[in-house]
Subunit: 252 residues, 2 copies
DNA sequence: ATGACCGTTGCAGACAATGCAACGATCGAG
DNA sequence: CTCGATCGTTGCATTGTCTGCAACGGTCAT
């Protein structure tokens, strides 16, 4: 909609791949060097890009700070956090909280497993949308046409032999999840890791977030993990109630 | 330099304080509603802002992803991480890694304490620059005029009675740190927490990052913590060597 | 010492961003 | 149920700002 801003913002993902000098930026944007320079300068003034000693540009510090503040302003996260910690203390496994936003599911909070074997994940990292328990929960709540549209747009990478292979299987799984009110990922993302998850709902009943407990096979079997389901669902329901209780849009 | 981009980017910190609707954004930017709308739309297309159901705007998901990629592209971080983990396994305390960038010091990695008592900090969060051990290390390496300029520009909040109170004391401390090659923060940020830190240097000897070990009084006294100094310095030196060994700018 | 390369600046032209005004939708009150 | 108000949205003419060009200066390698 706005050409100048559009160009400027296109620089960010470009630099996310690695540092680049002025010429490279100009070339990849398809604009004159002087234009790229002015855009970079503006980004620089706002701290979004940083100029390292070799004069090349890199993503800047304020980006972290912004992402930081953004995540701290998510009220679901704030409300949920203490419950996630409590759950972690009871079961000892890794606990995740995730939300859906614009065709992406991403983790917004995480409490690390107390076992030495940990799974790799990171707040802010997009979730493997076709297999993760939290992703199934969040997508299952969308309207039928939305689910269809998204399911057809997705790729279905076969992380393991148990990954959902195509849109049909995915939609079927979503229907199951929608019906039963909880979800699993049994080795669909990484062979040796299982997850169980439950939805967090707002006052209107819509799913606003999803949480999950993940544990590797070597610690507990899938069957053992499933015995935690009541606990997980209870925690999710508690968070839902507390979230619904607060005025939906509180802050000024 | 570029008015349009400047305005657009000004929206981000504004939204970082909390969600806002179109009118509020326009007002705080000092532009017409239609202008604000178009800027927001462009930001939206790039995923930097998100429109929640109540139509208000919030910082968006891509911001996390960008910050994520940015932090992963810092080669110091990549090289240091395994060493930080190893150090944590030896001493059990919280280990931080920080860099200096444009008048800010910020944590770029962290390994949590294995003790139940943890200090609050977060990757991406700006560091208390006038007291933190890592901040002293990073600033101590700047040239004398740079140090002076920064020292005078800073605020000196008295977090505790042992916080450095003014530019004079700060510069003096930096001189000490610069001389001895390591730094401490003994209760200068939080009364009950002590830190010791050491610098990580590039091939040219300049400080590129700093690391620290933090522990609350209740776990170890300051004196006990200081006995870890050789270990911390050795770890920092190991990382420095490894960092200098790799070609400084490797990636494409 | 010389040439090539890269970042930087001033300038005039052109295009894109701006503000205005009118429209439409949503919500609340009477 | 109707009316009014509020807020987001769109088309348009004007203006201003962004763009590309060309020339300059610095740095590095030959």
């Amino acid at each position: 909609m706005s050409q100048t801003v559009d160009r400027a913002l296109s620089i960010l993902p470009l630099l996310a791949q690695g540092p680049a000098d002025l010429g490279q930026v100009a070339e990849r944007l398809g604009v004159h060097k002087s234009t790229a320079l002015r855009l970079l300068r503006t980004l620089h003034e706002h701290g979004l890009v940083y100029r390292q000693e070799d004069q090349r540009y890199r993503l800047g510090a304020r980006l972290f700070a912004l992402a930081q503040e953004a995540v701290e302003n998510l009220d679901v996260r704030e409300i949920a956090h203490s419950h996630l910690v409590a759950l972690n203390e009871q079961c000892g496994h890794t606990v995740h909280l995730a939300v859906y936003e614009e065709n992406e599911v991403l983790y917004i909070d995480k409490v690390e497993s107390r076992y030495p074997v940990r799974m790799y994940s990171r707040i802010g990292k997009p979730v493997a949308i076709t297999v993760a328990a939290v992703a199934k929960l969040l997508l299952a709540d969308l309207t039928e046409p939305e689910r269809r549209a998204i399911a057809e747009r997705l790729d279905y990478p076969m992380y393991t032999s148990r990954s959902l292979p195509n849109a049909g299987a995915f939609l079927k799984e979503l229907a199951v999840v929608r019906e039963q009110g909880w979800a699993t990922d049994l080795g669909g993302h990484e062979e040796s890791i299982n997850c169980i998850g439950a939805p967090i709902r707002g006052a209107d009943g819509r799913v606003v977030a999803a949480m999950s407990v993940s544990a590797p096979n070597v610690v507990v079997t899938a069957e053992e993990l499933l015995t935690l389901l009541p606990l997980v669902r209870r925690t999710a329901d508690t968070i839902s109630r507390e979230y619904s209780g607060t005025t939906p849009t509180k802050k000024a």
